[in-house]
């Protein structure tokens, strides 16, 4: 059924095919979808598909409301929403892009993964299409995650800087009065918590990336900005700071700060997960991104926000070349596929405006990309994140996102091996090199 439709369309308007075939397959209600070429009058009907990853609750409702508000302003536009389970997103997107049944608007997290899609020529360059007021409100820095070869390919919707979330009650119980700013102080805090029989740090090692984040943050403190930029551009990990980061992490792990059995602890699933241990006061700290308050909220016994959840930046490492105020984080955002109608970018600009970003921050309990919308952030931990974020010397993207899946995969494996006592810090760096042979 789909194939003949494609052939017919292709025969009549080859160029418009790219603009609408994905949207019109099966679900189109507007007749003559082929008239959606951007050059025609604004009233011409346009149908687009929109993929996001919020399958339940406030997030799902937020996108439904946002789309409804947009189509009210643009009566000629129809947007078919498809909420896709986060873990299925990459695979489905890949299949859809290769089959030509791709969504018009899809979720993107930037970095190396986006670069792969860009290299295949399947995502739209929106550099000159971003509305000037949106660009000012979001600031230049945040677009770096979605910039490939000097061109912007995605619209960020959130900033997700990482740091250490902790339980204020458990810190009080252990007699920790000042928040750790250096690793010496963190070690002292860990010792105090242990003395009280409290599991100091929760770590979801089974999912590997939470363990790798410890390595990334060590590298952020140990390596200078120049070295990290060089690694991003040339995949060059020869600077000794990469080794030192591994050794620093190993030394810290040897003090046994993580929850027992952390290698088989998952990150976000159920009360036994690392986030669940924070939610149920079974552990005092966890290194996480800005999505943590929302995740913890779902895992508390009464599904309410954890009242005593606090936040402090990753502590400074002695002898590190990185700026101690530097932060690391990611950004969720959205992209248009190559050849999408002009209304696609209109929608991206629409979702990034102040009102929609305020709604976004509330629905997802996170930090909005639009600086004007930050007034709605009420969670005290997130307010602390925001304060540090505004003061940060620079913000690095998560290393696995920045370097791409292949290197990220090798880093994940290498860090888990080292923590389990099966590998060394040098083998983390070596694993990154052998990964290059596979991709």
């Amino acid at each position: 059924m789909k194939a003949p439709a494609l052939v017919a369309l292709g025969a009549s308007v080859a160029l418009a095919l790219a603009g609408c075939s994905g949207g019109t397959s099966g679900t189109a209600t507007t007749p003559g979808g082929s008239s959606s070429a951007p050059s025609q009058s604004a009233a011409a009907p346009v149908t687009m598909t929109f993929w996001h990853n919020s399958t339940t609750g406030d997030g799902k409702k937020y996108w439904e409301d946002t789309v409804a508000a947009f189509t009210k302003e643009h009566p000629n536009v129809t947007i078919n929403i498809q909420a896709i389970q986060n873990e299925d997103m990459d695979g489905k997107l890949q299949t859809a892009l290769n089959s030509g049944q791709d969504p018009t608007i899809f979720m993107a997290r930037g970095g190396g993964k986006l670069a792969d899609v860009v290299a295949a020529g399947q995502v739209m360059d929106i550099t000159d299409k971003i509305a000037p007021d949106v660009k000012t409100a979001l600031g230049d820095g945040i677009f770096s995650a979605f910039t490939v070869g000097g061109k912007i390919y995605g619209m960020p919707t959130s900033v997700l800087p990482g740091g250490i979330y902790y339980s204020k009650d458990l810190f009080k119980e252990a007699g920790i009065t000042a928040l750790p700013t250096t690793f010496e102080e963190l070690n002292a805090a860990v010792a105090k918590l242990k003395a009280k029989g409290i599991s100091p740090i929760a770590l979801g090692g089974k999912d590997a990336w939470p363990a790798a984040h410890w390595y990334y943050f060590m590298a952020l403190r140990d390596c200078s900005k120049d070295v990290m930029d060089k690694a991003a551009a040339e995949k060059d990990f020869s600077d000794p700071c990469w080794l030192k980061a591994g050794e620093d992490l190993k030394a810290f792990a040897d003090t046994d700060p993580f929850n027992k059995g952390y290698l088989t602890t998952s990150a976000q699933q159920g009360a036994g997960s690392s986030a669940g241990q924070i939610a149920n006061h079974k552990a005092a700290m966890e290194l996480m991104g800005a999505w943590e308050p929302g995740v913890v909220k779902d895992l508390t016994p009464d599904k309410k926000s954890l009242a005593d959840l606090g936040w402090f930046p990753f502590p400074a490492v002695s002898g590190g070349a990185g700026d101690p105020t530097a932060m690391m984080g990611g950004s969720d955002g959205f992209a248009c596929r190559q050849g999408a109608p002009a209304e696609c970018v209109d929608f991206l600009n629409f979702m990034a405006n102040k009102a929609n970003q305020e709604g976004y921050a509330k629905a997802f309990q996170t930090l909005p990309a639009n600086k004007d919308a930050k007034g709605v952030v009420t969670d005290p931990a997130l307010q602390d994140v925001l304060a540090s974020y505004d003061k940060a010397a620079y913000v690095s993207l998560w290393l696995d996102t920045m370097y791409g899946q292949n290197v990220g995969n090798a880093l994940n494996g290498g860090v888990v091996n080292m923590l389990a006592g099966k590998g060394t810090a040098a083998e983390i760096v070596a694993a990154v090199k052998t990964a290059a042979a596979k991709g």
């Binding site: 290769n98 090692g205 089974k206 791409g404 292949n406 995969n409 494996g413 888990v416 389990a420 991709g439």
Partner: protein, 295 residues
């Protein structure tokens, strides 16, 4: 012949074609987006067989093949002998032994991983029994993890082996047992010289299924150990390696090459087994042996 057409078409489209597609993609460095263009010849295959992680996974597969046969075979025959007699509650025991095989791998994996975690039920039980010294990190400790896996596999698949053996035993004619009993043979002599030899075809077919299953083992490992820890804990298999280095790393060309490598390894082992072990069982059925006409 015409009626077989749709089946042949389906087989070609969903079995044969994907194999050739995988072989094609395996010659490229390919990120999965667009058409593969970076042709690298056999480079992926060279990388596979020089990657210590793959060789480790291959070793684990080999161990699982051998240990499955050693652990499950004798136990299955013993259980089948027991259940082949008129004992009380026989049907109930048969059902209970078969239950693990029926439960989905996902549920089995999740359940066992919850019980065997460091702070899971097993360690709690041991501590409460005053056997705190026996607690261990059953899943994550590289020294014990593979044995934990073997226990779970045996528990899961023993029921299937028992059912097969039972069926094999029921197919042995009663006259042989009666004749032996009249001749005054003891129970154990009867089992040794009548049951075991006549159970041969069943054992050989079961072993074949077990070997193939062990080579393809994926779901239990992936669920219990997750995406990365299986390699660290020493329980990774060729299939988990394929997912990790192919899908998770975004190296789809390399992943396809790994799939082809697994296919070839499994095929060689399967054909060898067919040729040397299953030959006398399948003669006439799968091969065009001269005996076919004679019968």
């Amino acid at each position: 012949m015409i009626l077989a057409g749709p089946a042949i078409l389906m087989f070609l489209a969903f079995v044969i074609l994907p194999v050739f597609m995988a072989a094609y993609y395996g010659f490229f460095k390919w990120k999965g987006f667009g058409v593969p263009t970076n042709f690298v010849g056999f480079q992926n295959y060279i990388t596979i067989f020089t990657d210590q992680n793959f060789l480790d996974a291959l070793t684990h597969n080999g161990m699982i093949v051998v240990m499955s046969l050693i652990m499950q075979g004798p136990a299955a025959i013993a259980f089948a002998l027991l259940l082949n007699q008129n004992i009380k509650g026989r049907s109930l025991i048969r059902v209970l032994i078969f239950v693990p095989y029926v439960i989905s791998e996902v549920i089995v994996g999740t359940g066992w991983s919850l019980m065997l975690q460091y702070q899971g039920a097993l360690n709690d039980l041991l501590t409460n029994l005053g056997m705190g010294w026996a607690t261990a990190d059953w899943i994550a400790n590289p020294n014990t993890a593979i044995w934990t896996l073997m226990v779970i596999i045996s528990w899961k698949y023993l029921g299937f082996a028992v059912i097969l053996m039972l069926a094999g035993m029921q197919g042995i004619p009663d006259e042989l047992y009666e004749a032996a009993a009249i001749d005054g043979a003891s129970y154990w002599r009867i089992q040794r010289w009548i049951t075991l030899p006549l159970l041969g075809p069943t054992v050989r077919v079961w072993a074949f299924l077990s070997i193939i299953g062990s080579l393809q083992l994926f779901d239990l490992v992936y669920i219990i150990w997750g995406q990365y820890v299986s390699s660290t804990a020493g329980t990774s298999t060729m299939a988990t390696y394929m997912v990790r280095e192919g899908r998770l790393a975004g190296n789809y060309g390399y992943g396809n090459a790994v799939a082809v490598a697994i296919f070839v390894i499994s095929l060689v082992i399967a054909l060898t087994y067919q040729r040397f072990v299953l030959r006398r069982d399948t003669e006439g059925a799968l091969t065009d042996g001269p005996e076919r006409k004679a019968r």
